[in-house]
Structures are given as C-alpha cells and as structure tokens.
Symmetry: D4
Subunit: 248 residues, 8 copies
C-alpha cells in the first residue's frame, strides 16, 4: 500500500535534488500502477471476498489446481465454477480445505463465514435442468456471505406451485430467477415481488430454444420492470450482482 | 357436384362407343380439375363458411372492394382482414351490408349466423397493444359461427388479474392467447386449463423483441404441452384453427 | 380432495375459538396449495392420463429409472421420451410392465387402455429421418387413449404419394404432420383436409436447414390457415395437443 | 385494504348462517381478486410511487392524455415515456401540473417529492445519441424519489474522460450505464466501481450495430461480474431497477 | 475487335525495331484491356441481348432516363427493372419506343424479336403478391427471346389447382417458380417435372417470414433435387438464368 | 405400366355390370396411385437414371447396405452420398459391383454408361477443403451420364490461377462452382462464362463463416446474373441440376 | 499543456510547506484530468488533423451548423459526414469556407493542405450504389492529407475491368475496397496487391443481402490474408485507418 | 522468371516464320499463366516471406507433414497454424529444423531472420483464453520479420492494468488486440494510441457470446476510428496485416 516511487520523487524535490518541473516530467512517464489506481483492485478484494474466480471449464485439472492454490494463498475465499469431479480431485490434493458442491459444479474454499448481506437472497428455478445454474448462483451468493434460500421446480405452467411459495418470495431482499425454455418465470416472479429480480436464462431446452436464446429474449422483454438480466447460464454473475445489492 | 366429363366417358363405354382401353387412355389426359379434387374446394366452402379471406393490407381500397364484392356473390360470409377505414368505405359502396369492426381492423359480411361451434372460444390478450390481433382472432371465430369471449389485459407480471378470470377460462373449449414482448402468457394459461391453447405472438415490443421474434420463440418453447403456435400477428389463423377445433 | 386446513379454520370460527378477523388474517398466510388451486393439478392427472412426462435425454439411466418408478406408483400411465435402450434397461428392472417403443425412443407404461379420443388421429411424416419424431407423436397419442394411424414417406416432392393416401387423411379428426428440410408438407396436407393440422418441424436436414429452423419458419408461414405449430422435434407436444383436440 | 367478502363469509359461519363445509365450497368459487392478491398491486402503488407507466409511443395524443388524466386521479406520481411535444400538449390540457422533460421525452406529474432512495444513482452515457435513453432512466429514478446525477459523453475510446469522473462514480450506490455501438462502457465502469451496474444498450449505431444488438450482446458478455442488463433503449426499466435497489 | 497495340508490337519486332526481349518486357506493362479480355464483354452483349440492365429502384427518374437512353444507342434491347410510372415517363421522353410493363414494373425497349430459346419457359407463382416478381422474370425471359407462359395463383394449400396445370408444366423446358410465405411451391413443382426449376423466394408474408427469409430457406432445403435458387425477389436473375438454360 | 384397376372398371361398365354413375362413385374412392400419377415416378426413373439416392450419413452401415441392395434390383444406377469406408464395406458384401469414390465419399453402382449430356460440365472448386463437395457434384454428374471435368484450387485471391483455366471454362455447357469462406468464386466465374453457373456454398471456414452461411449469402447476392444456388455442401443437388440442364 | 496543479504540489514540497507524505496523499485525490492523460487528446488533434468528426445524419441542420462552427474555432480541419444539402446550407451560413462534397455527402473545412501521407491511397468501388461510401472514404483520406485515387465500377463479375486497373492498384500504399451485395471484391484485390487492404461492406443490395450483412460476412471470411474490415457503410473509418497507415 | 513461350513467339515473328497477325491470334489462345500474371505470385513470395500458410486443423498429421515438407523446399519460411503436437511430430520427421510454438499451436520453419518491419508490433490480449489467438498473431508477425511484444491479461474491467502498459502501447507502430466476450478492448486501446489497431475477436465466452459473434459485432461497431477487424480467432490474419503495415 506504499507507493514508494512517488514518495521518493517528492523526497528528492524536498532535498533540492530535483526541480518541481523535472519532477512533473518524470511523473508523466512513470508506470501507472504506481499511482492511485492500483488501490482500486486491492479495495475490491478486501470488500468483495474474492477478487478473482476460476472458470474451470476448458482448463485441465492441473491448471485449475495450480491457479486455485495460488489464489488460496492471498484470498480468504476461492471459488472455481463449472468444475468437474476431476478438477476437484486435483485441487483437493493442493488445497486440503477445498470442498466440492456437486449440484453447483463448484469448488469452494471459504475461510471467512461472516454474513455481509443485509437480507435474504432467494434463488428460484423453473425445471430440473435449471438446477446447476441456480446452484451456481446460490453457492456464489453463499461464499460472498449471504443468507440464501432455493425454491425449486416452480415453472410458469404450474402457477399454483409458485404461488404456494409466496411467503418465501416476500421475505427476499433480492430474487434470482433461473429458467430455460420460454424464460417466462422472471416476469411472473417480478410481478409478485417489489424487490430487484436478477434473471438468468439457461440453455435448457431444444429446437427453437437455440441454446438459451429464447429464454434470454423472453427475459429482456419482460413486462415486469424490476427485472434485469445476465448472460445465458451465468449463475455466477447473478449470484455476484445479487450479493452486491444485498450488501447495500 | 357432377363430374360430367367422367360420367360421359363411362356412358360412351357403356354404349360401346369407346373400348375400355381407349377410355383409360383418355382418362389419363383429362385435366385434373375434372376429377375428384375440384370438389375439395367446394366442400370446404360449404363447411368452413368462407373459402377465401381478403388480406386488405398492401392492396388499394379499390382492389379490396372489387374482390370483396366478387366473393359476396358466392359466399354467405366474407371477411377482409387488416383493413383500414378507407378500405371499408370502398367496400361499403359495393356491398351495403358489410360492417367494419374497428378494433379488429376487419370488414365483415355475415349473412349466416348459425352457431357451428360446440362450445365457447375464449380469447386472452396481454397488453393494450395486443388487442388488434386478439380482436382479429375474435372476429374470425365469430364469423365462423362461434360463441366467443375476450379477456383483456391479463399480462403475466400481474398474475392475480389472470387468476381472477379463472372461471371464464375454465368454461372455454379452446383458448386463444395473444401476447407480445416475452410471450409468456400462453404458458401460464396453458398450465391452468385442460383444453387446447392456440398461441399468437404479436409484434408488440421494442428493442430485442425483434418485431415479435422473442414472443414467438417464447411460445414455441412453452413448457405447457397443450400450446401450439401460429405466425406473428396472425389473429386470423388462430381464430380459424380454434373454430375448426370447436366444430369437432 | 379435502382442503381440511381451511375447513378447520371455519370450524374454529363456528366454535367461537377464532374471530372472523383473525380468520381472515390467518387465511392470508396459509400456503397456497391448501386453497383451491391444488385441485387443478389433480384434475389434470385424472383427465389427461399422465400429469408428468419424463424427458430421458440428458439424464442418466439411473435417474430416469428412479423417476419413472416413482411416477408409476401414482399414475396409471407413464411416458418417458427420447429414451435410449440403456434408459429402458434400467427402468425395466424397477417397473416390470414398462415397454420400449424403439422407433419412438419412448418407454411406456400403459395400464389404462380406455379410448378417450372421439375420432382418429393421423400422423403424416415426410422422410425416413422424420420417423422418430412422428413415432413419438404417435406413441404419445396412443398412451393418451387415441386411435392413431401413421402415413409414412409422403414428401411434397412426390405429391402423388400423398394424394394416394387421401382416404386416410379424410378420415382423420386431427392430423399431425412431421417434416424437416423445407417443412412444406403441413401446407399441402392443410389444403387437403378440413380439420386442424398440428405441424412439427424436425431437425432433419443440413446446411441452411439450421437444425430445423427452415422447417419451423416454413410451417409458421403456411398459407393453409388450419395449421398451428409446435417446437422443432417436439413429437410429444404434437401428440398431446392432438389428443386434447380429439377428446373434445 | 379490507377483503370484506371473505370476512363476511366468516361472519356468517360465526352466526351459524353457514356451515363450515358450505363456506369452503363458496370460497372455492369466489373471484380471486377478493382474496389476498389484490393487495399486492395496491402495495406496489404505495411503495413504488407509480403502479403504472404510460408508453406514449404508438398512441395518439388523445389516448395518452386520457390515460394520463385517469392515472392522475389515483396516483401521486404519473409518468409517460417516449412522449412527443404533441402528446404533452394534450396531457397539459387535462392535467395542469404535468411537466415535459424534453431530453427524456417524458411527461411527468410529481406531487410527492419525498426522497425514498438511500444513496445516489449515477447515470453514465457514452455518446450524444444515447442521451435520450439516459435521460429517461434519470427522470424515472427522479420521480421514484432518488438523488440522481448524469455523467455525459464518456465513451470508452477516450478513457481519460471517464477516469476524470472517478469521484462521482465512487459516490454512487447504483450506476446506470447507457451505450450504443459496441456497448463496452458498462464493462469499464463495472471494473471501476464496487456497486451494482445496470446496463442499457441503446439502438445508436448503424450497419452491424443491428439496432442495438451489438451493444446488447456486448453488455450480456461483460467480463465485469457486477453488470446486469435491460432491453435495448429501456431507460425506464433501468431507472426502475436502480430505484428499487437504492431503496433497499 | 482489333487489338492493334499488340499487333503493332509484333510488327515492330518483325521490322527489327524491337528485339523479342524488349517486346516481352513491354507486353508485361501494357494495360490489360488491350489484351484478350475486352472481347469477353463484347461477346456477351452479342449473345445475351443485353449486356447491362438498369435497376431503377433508388435512382431518380432523370438518372434512369439518361442511363436508359445511353444504353439504347448501343444495345438492341434495354431493360430497366423495379421502375415506377415516373421512371417510365422520363424514359419515354428520351426513348420513344420504350414500353412500360406495369405488372412487372419494367421498362422495355425490344428491337430484336428473334426467338433465341429452344423451348418454353413456364413461370409459376403462388399468390397475388408474388405476381410482380413473377412478371419481372417473365419480361426478362421475353426480352431475351423466349416463349414464356405464366401460371398464376397455384399455392401449395390448394394442390388441385396446381395439378390442373400439369399439362402446361409438362411442356416446359425450364420452370421458374416464385413464392413467398413458406416457399414450398418449388418443391412440389420440382417433384412433378423433370426439367430444371429456378426458384425465386419473394418477400411476401409477414411476421416470421422475415422479408422472404422463410421462403428462401425453404427453397434452399427443397427435397426436390432439380431446384436451384436465386436471391429474394430476384425475378430478373431467375429470368436470366432460365433464358441461358433455354438457349442451350 | 398397366393401370388394371381402372381398366377393370371400364370393362365392368361395358358388360353392364356397373352403371356409369356407380363407376364414377367408385373411381372417386380408388387409391390415387392407380390413376395417372404413378407414371410420373416411373418416367423419372427411366430418364434420370436414378429415381432415388441414398444419404448414408446418419444411417448404420447395415441400413445403407440394405437400401442400396434393394435399389440395385430395380435401378441400373445407384448412388449413396456421404458414405464412409464402413458403409462401403457393408454395401460391397451385398452388391459386388459397387465402387467407392473416396474423395467424393460416394458409393456408386453404374451399369449404364450411356452419355446423356450434350456438352461438358465443369466443376470448379476454390480450396482443398471444398474438394469433397466438388467431387460429390462430379460423381453425381458422371453417374447421370455426363462428360465432366474438375478444375481445382482456383480461389479468388489468386485470380491468375482461375484465368489460366479460361479455356476449360469456355468449353463448359454448365459450370458448377464450389466455395466456402467468402463464397466469391461463382461471381467471378459467372462473369467470365456465358452459360448457367450452379453455385454450391460449402461449410469450409471458421468463425464468422457460420458453417457456410457467409458463402451462401455471398452466392445469393452475386452480381453475376447467371448464378443460381443450392444448399450448403449440397454437391449432389448441384450435380443433379447441372445434369438436367446438360440433357436439354 | 501545463499541469499546474501538480507542479504547484512539487513547489510546495520544495518550499517545505508540505511533507512528501502529505503530497502523496493529496496526489491520490486529485481529479484525473490534471494528470498526464489530458495530453493524449491534444496530441491526437495535432497529429491527426481533426480530433472530432460530426455525424450529420440524425441531427438537425441547426445542430450540425452549431457543432461545426464550434469545432472550426479550434481545428484547422473539420469534417461532417452523411450530411444533406440542408445541413450544408446551415453550416455555410456560419462557416464561409466550408465546402460540400456532394457525392460523399460530406461537409469539409480544410485549412491545412499539407500532405501527411507517404504514398497513395487507392479507393476501389464495385457498383454505382457503392460510390457514396467510397467517396466518404476518399474525402476523409484527403482532408487527413493524403494523395488519393478512386477506381470506379470494377465489380468481380467483370474481372477484366479490374485487371485493366492493375497499374493504379500496384502504385497504392494502402487500398480501400468498398462493395455491397456479395462483398467479394476485397478478396480479389487482396490477392493482386501486396499492401494492406481495408474493406468496407456497403448496404447496397436487397433480399438476402440483409442491409450489408452478406457483404460484411464475405469480407470477414476473405481468403486473402491482407484484408481487414470496418463496419457496414463506414467509409469514414476506412479513410481514417488508411490515413494512419499511410503516415507510418 | 523467363516467359519463354512468349519470347519464342516474338522470335518467330522476328525470323519471319510467323506474321504479326498470326502471332496475335496465337497469343490469344495461350494459357494465361505464361503471361504476365504468374509473376505476381512469385513477387509475393519474395517480399512476404511465405507465399502459402498451412492450416493444420482438419488435416491428418501425414497430410500436414507432406505439405510442410514440399513448401520447405521452395520457401525460406514455412508456417503451419492450428497444429497439434501430433502434427508437429510428423512434420519434425521430415523437416528437422521445424520448431513447435506450443502456446500459438504453430509449427515454424524460419531460415530467414531478417527484420523487415520498421517498428514494433504490440499484441494485446484480454483474458487467458485469448492467448492462443494472440500467440498465433505474434508468431505470424515474428516469422514475417518483425519485432513483437505481447501484453497479457489487460481486460477492460480492470482498466488500470491496461493503463499500466501505456508506455509499451505508445511504442507500437501497429497494435493487434485480441479479445473475446464483449470485445471491448480494441475500442479502449484504439482511444489510447494514434496508430492502426487490428482487432481480432475470439470465440472465448459462452451463452450469448455465440462463439465470438458478440465480440465481432462489438469490434465492428467500435467508436475508435483507428480500428479494423479480422475474422473470429483469425490470429494469423491479424499478424499478416500488421506485418504488411509495419513494412510500409
């Protein structure tokens, strides 16, 4: 936290070794990280709990393990998403306390269990296929220090099932809704609650679902104005945004 | 209804004026309409009430009027869709009894008021912008001889409004659902009723609704299995299909 | 069928144990399924024959078997679609009477063989590749209690083959048409019959068929007004909608 | 706020005029709005400040004026978006206190000036063309009772301009970012702040911007995990979501 | 037809004014049009009847007239497509013998009436809206010296009308088929005839026809292997290709 | 070729066993194939050389072999496209004389070697990756009885290579051009020759080639009016169309 | 160019009014524009000739005139693109020396006529419709101080016309190629020259050109590796990039 | 380099064995490669360093090895892109001096190490996943004789990391920027430097990144006018274009 290079510059001006004009000229050519901005990153780490997340998918078990172990040295909490059992086995060998959340396909190291959120985050999912994405959102919110609840299997074609969970929804400070196919659930939930709804389209479906495009468009065109949307299958992003909101 | 050319052929064989072989040869070269198929069209007219519908959009008032008048000579019922007041004025001059249904943008001549449907067709629409399409479906079903009811303004983001109309929905033999934006309404309605739902995506919306594409994809990916879909803004098609179903 | 919780509430009001005002307050916080709506689901089960269908694709054999066995306890009919031989082997071990319909890739348990349909459902398919989807529609309609017939291999480029099956088509109360590539068959069939046509685009084709998109668009733009459409490869949905229509 | 019909039911049970069983039966057939849900809508009005917003675009001046006047009777705040000067002239005749916010193309009636938000909402926009959308977001947030600030003209290709506004960004409790063309601004802003960012793609651009699709996709794929997205040009939605967040 | 520059080169070599080596070097730097290729263009003019066609759409009446007049000096036949009555009025003033084909929206100057085609070209169109495109194809084929026939209004949903024209279709040496909406007609016609079919998708339709995309994809995926396709609304291209085929 | 059922009908009328009226009634219910149309298919077989082609891709070796063998009984020529070595091994066991064309991935049985084409078909391909599609076109044209020549590796970015083959191109009666990536080759070739060009986009490319979409669009928008297009990778279709043209 | 605030800081340290530590702390909170980055913008202005360009399209004549006049005070060169005659008339009133380049639809104020480019930029365009985009590129390159030449009307379907301009192409240091429809020209030109080619797809075309998408995809998939691409119709961008290259 | 056929022609004219007229006629029928154009290709080889590059992906190890070896005979530098270790093993056996650049997945034979570039090419990449594409660009630029530097991991959501590399960016004569997901980096870099930026979208991302489409559109719509774009994942193309620019 000590930008010594700049301090040194001032020191040399103070001693008369450098005129102010020369100092300005040198300042202009110093690498930027010596200035104010480096601190931004650091602050984020302190507050958010994990400055960097590992996307395991597409990496070898060895690569994931090595990155995970490196982060585990500096961060109290480490999260790897879209991780297989193989990824986990490799991580486990290096980081003993890492846990595997199978449904969420996430590897988690959570040393700090402080509750940073002010209320409850409720994660709603439509069908069985949407559960992995919903669980990724849930785990993300949990490791960021939130009280989280998951309401399963409440698709719009059985609206009474959703209505039956009214009470839980009404307790939420933020709601995350994961749905594939027609992606209609965020609109219905958005119409029921008065808090922000973060919608996650999933790639569940076939044919003209076009790998989640139908759900994505449905959510973007929601007639409920309290709905905002993240990328297809981006459970992590939804959990992250919801956590930031819940900390406010 | 008398395919006389063929009958004549048999007659000449009977009289010995033609050998069977020659008759077969001649049959092979007769124009097709003399055969059985011409009757298909005729039958459809008798049963369906209007064998041909006029799409007024893109035609001049004069053209519409002239087609409408010609059809009025042979059909008990004539329907022109997507018609403006100008179209109607021109039609009215030629066909006195024609009426204009403003909300539906339809010109109607309905001499036969028999009720051909066995139950009620309920037309549900989500927002104000969807009303013209819903009314086109409604008028189509009406002129095809059905008992029709329209439930307005029951979007999915205010699910209680829809639930309040449960009783009407439960009375329907077929339901038509018109919705733009995210197109989620057919899924919710489909989950509530046990009868066929004909879904009509509308082009209402902006941005990523892409002129009704979002609603169309939403409906095609409905998790309610009793939903089938027609083209964007195709109120006529929905009314037509629903009428055929209601006649069964 | 006995919403005892509510009845209990009234009983306590009657006995003076609760004031009407308190009762209203409690009613407001009761879970919704205790109210009227739970019955919706139940009714559907009674009438439709299977309240829930298992989509085997993407699930392990073990998962499918376990869900299938659970449903088999409460439903007279159970259907699993897009199931492999492996899925079936696992189901068979738990549910003896389950059968495998290879062409349709469906696992079926059908204890109730009542005919609920009022007429015949005819399933038409264009090419060899479309048969699995057509058979899925056919099996769905069968287990829902319908008299079904399948007309194979009648693509539009050999129109005489289709015309040769006129008689069968004219006997149908509902027609299901499955076609890939240009998806033109529903238009031709729709022009020949006077009953509702449920069109199923299939993903058969290559290049600019874009996994069924060409067929889907073709069917949605059909010039035959008695055609409505379900999702690409959605044989189940077509069979379901057709069954509902045939029960009317 | 008094569901009298139900209360009456309990009363009649209490008086012995109705048996509990009869009461249950009647309850089942009561229209739904008499039950708990009607209250949802009402509550929303109380808390949100405006239960309904008027989308003026596509409506005649007369229609907008009439809806606006009707809402003005029951709501303390009324908002009409995408309104022209003509729309405003008509509204003004009926609702004296209505004001026109030209940049935002919004008509506003704001009788309640309470500050409901807990912090500041900062609206950032990239280019001149994005201003109407940004102003719509700003006006929405304002009429919902928030302290709002607008940072103009800070596109990513002149990153120093954005950096110069660091202080304002760091003061925000929620940030709204509006950008067309490549839609990159939310990613950069999202990387600078630690609060939720609501991104609004605008239809500004030409050629392969495809009316905002490029910006929309860019924002959905943001590498900053605190970004969520609303529909193209949906300034209202962004202002609404941000307001809900700022009230938490 | 006399590439004099090259001849000159040889002449100078013959006279000894230039060594072969120098000649080779000079040849290498001669502008290309002096070589063989200029003749290509000329030949095409001679054989095809019109080396250049005027696309009137998007040009002013004055521009069209001036181009038309210029071409009329060197070509026996001149064709302007997508021309309005205004375009024609301006052309007429400069080129007396020009005629306007209203249905085809084409301006034609045809001084050479030789029949270059060996058989008949039949143009088939599906609906009323497709006629302008079909007529453009027809006029193009006519001015290129072919015997042409137009079969109107034979959409696939009334297959008997198409069958009734069997005889005409069987006489064709090439068939052009124009259709919008689902674009199914070329497949059916292709299955009936044994000659090449040139398919023209038209932009007729609405909603998910996406300005002719549905028809285009349908035609590209035709199950009839004798079908090839030109651009949406490209009646000119179809007439041109068909003419080249018919000259073979 | 003997429609005996109909002949029998006439015979019975002749003998007085049936009145003409009864005969007409019976005729109306006869299956269509007994009528004139069956002959269409037969004729096509006689003239085209193969009425049916086997698409091997997606079928098992056993299935392909069995279909191939069945066709080999009635057709002088049989063609299976997109066939692997495994497909061929299975076919070979049943049909001794079948040959495998490796480059074209085609299995061929060609008993009739008559030359039905009147001129030469030239197949041009742009890159190495396009060769399988080009060879499929070439083999198709060959088995349909044409004189064919293949010009390899003449992409537009090395225009001199194409120009070097001018002579061959000028000898063609029809040209087939196969190209992936930007699909520009048909335009250049189309501008050089005066005969019909059948363009085949291939799926060769990556990124924004979108599996051949870029090439397809390029070809459909060709500025050379003698170009028509078939589906992506549809070498068979191009060879078929070119053969029909070359027979005229 | 004098960051006085920072200089002042050093001065105060030098005088002992501030300790180095305090100075570092203050530096951290200074607004960013006082630092180094402001100079970036200034430098760009000095070197590039115009730091800001006015996109006239979508702005009123008055707005364009006012912005143009403001820029004219500080910049030696001002450029407004996509400007109409009305825009120019308004600009002319405020800036006497402004000129209108009609073909390019550009308003130009060029006080500095220094040639900054080291070689010639050649702009190639395919069809008449592409000229406005090509001229926009040309004017941009001109006002940025380059020697520019425009080769018109050299579409790929008449390759000899392009070959005839070989000499001009070989003289270019950078080539800009503008083409609509299939967008093939950059590939052919790219194959002929050894310098960078900047490709500009234009929206010229109809049907499946999809407003320039076909040309854009064609250019991105060019088989000539020296081609890079800018947005559809972005003549300005191409001229700008080419100018930067030509200054190197 | 000796077009002997033409020289021979001149020689025979000189000797009187051939009249100039006959020579012209013969010249017209000579194959084109004997003329001037063959030299184009040769020249390119001399200047560019490698006239042909091997795309290994989709080819067998044997094929790649054989092509590589053939090129190694005539070219001082050979490059194979998208090559696996298996490809390399096979190449190595035939070409001893070939090296494998693992990160870039490239096989390189570089005998000529002359520096042809005049300045430095800087390659910037956003995320870990973009490195293979960036390295492909880097290797391409290197083997074409440039001084290259790679700046890693400077995504837009951590803008300070990018700013920290200002000095390196300011030294570049050309910048290549590789980014997936939202593809925003080229805009930010483009705004910082005054030299041409070649942008490479990568297919890194998921969901609505649509395999690089989002990044591609983002880059095409860049608000920085010094950005031009190559195909998705086309590191080779970017390196090639940048090298050509750097040689100017």
């Amino acid at each position: 936290m000590n930008p010594s290079a700049i301090r040194e510059l001032f020191e040399r001006v103070r001693c008369g070794k450098l005129t102010p004009d020369d100092a300005v000229a040198r300042l202009r050519h110093m690498p930027f990280e010596d200035l104010d901005f480096a601190k931004v990153d650091h602050h984020r780490a302190l507050r958010a709990g994990f400055p960097e997340v590992v996307l395991a998918e597409g990496k070898t078990a060895k690569q994931v393990a090595s990155i995970f172990a490196r982060l585990a040295k500096h961060q109290t909490t480490v999260l790897a998403t879209r991780a297989s059992r193989e990824h986990f086995a490799a991580v486990r060998r290096l980081v003993r306390k890492a846990e595997y959340r199978e449904l969420a396909r996430a590897i988690v190291l959570q040393r700090d269990r402080t509750n940073y959120g002010k209320g409850k985050i409720v994660v709603v999912s439509a069908g069985t296929g949407d559960i992995p994405v919903a669980e990724e959102a849930l785990v993300t919110a949990e490791v960021m220090g939130n009280d989280v609840e998951h309401v399963y299997d409440v698709g719009v074609a059985g609206i009474h099932r959703l209505l039956a969970h009214r009470t839980v929804l009404f307790e939420a400070r933020v709601v995350i809704v994961c749905a594939g196919m027609e992606g209609a659930l965020p609109s219905v939930v958005g119409g029921m609650v008065r808090v922000p709804v973060v919608a996650v389209p999933t790639s569940i479906g076939y044919g003209s679902s076009f790998q989640g495009l139908a759900a994505l468009l449905g959510m973007l065109n929601s007639c409920a104005p309290n709905v905002s949307v993240v990328n297809i299958d981006n459970g992590f992003g939804a959990g992250y945004v919801a956590s930031l909101i819940n900390r406010l």
